[in-house]
């Protein structure tokens, strides 16, 4: 409430300061997540940067209304939803480690294994049944392992 007495300018400066501190800490990991999703490379990731900027802008807009919510989690959720909405336009990968996967498989694998989001939360986020998330996850892991094996040993799905 003190900010409101100091006027909108001071309020905005305060919010920007808090937001900048959050971005300084979280942006590296979030950009990595975004780059994994878009299957771009570490050095060239324009689509991931666009997604992350939009998600962070949304976080900034609701910053005052965040009560107990973690801004990192909020941004990650927005990032994932944004990617799910727009991924059909950027179907193929561009050199990232997950290029072999479909956008939905990338979403599930990154959220489950890199971000450590629980299965039921991923299902809720993507609007899919849990069994479907489990199936997509298993298929994605198998595809990645098969791709790995084919570079070394002869190709073949050994997964039972």
């Amino acid at each position: 409430m003190a900010e409101q007495r100091n006027g909108p300018r001071a309020e905005r400066a305060h919010r920007t300061r808090e937001f900048d501190a959050f971005v300084a800490v979280a942006a590296g990991r979030l950009l990595h997540t975004a780059t994994l999703l878009t299957a771009e490379t570490r050095t060239r990731n324009p689509y991931a940067q666009t997604l992350l900027t939009a998600a962070l802008a949304h976080t900034y807009a609701v910053w005052e209304r965040l009560r107990d919510e973690d801004p990192y989690e909020l941004t990650r959720r927005d990032l994932a939803a944004r990617f799910a909405r727009t991924a059909w336009r950027h179907h193929g990968g561009r050199g990232g480690v997950l290029s072999a996967l479909l956008p939905q498989e990338r979403l599930v694998v990154v959220l489950r294994l890199y971000e450590g989001v629980a299965e039921e939360q991923v299902a809720a986020l993507l609007g899919l049944p849990e069994a479907r998330v489990r199936a997509v996850h298993a298929r994605a892991v198998a595809t990645l392992r098969a791709g790995r094996d084919s570079t070394g040993k002869p190709a073949g799905r050994t997964a039972a």
């Binding site: 905005r12 920007t16 937001f19 900048d20 971005v23 300084a24 942006a27 590296g28 990991r29 950009l31 990595h32 780059t35 994994l36 570490r42 050095t43 990731n45 991931a48 940067q49 992350l52 900027t53 939009a54 962070l56 802008a57 949304h58 976080t59 900034y60 807009a61 910053w63 480690v97 997950l98 694998v109 990154v110 294994l113 890199y114 298993a138 892991v141 198998a142 990645l144 392992r145 790995r148 997964a159």
Partner: protein
């Protein structure tokens, strides 16, 4: 099962690479776009409330003039059997 977990661990290692460098303008651009979003949301909310208040005022004025709860005056004169 443990074999599957081994595979998951391998994929986890595959994903756990160094973070990409964050461009310096990212926070600034996001804050600027965010404040524009916020302004737009506020303007929309203000417009909606203004519209609601105007509609309410119009209704009250109309009701006080038209007084629709009053029974309408009889259209025909009742027969007069007096005298």
């Amino acid at each position: 099962m443990s074999r599957y977990e081994d595979k998951e661990a391998a994929v986890r290692r595959l994903l756990d690479t160094p973070h990409p460098p964050v461009p310096g303008h990212l926070a600034g651009t996001a804050a600027e776009r965010g404040s524009r979003l916020l302004r737009r949301h506020r303007a929309v909310r203000r417009a909606a409330w203004t519209l609601f208040a105007l509609a309410l005022l119009a209704f009250v004025l109309w009701a006080s003039v038209a007084q629709p709860w009053e029974a309408p005056a009889a259209e025909t004169t009742p027969p007069f059997d007096g005298l």
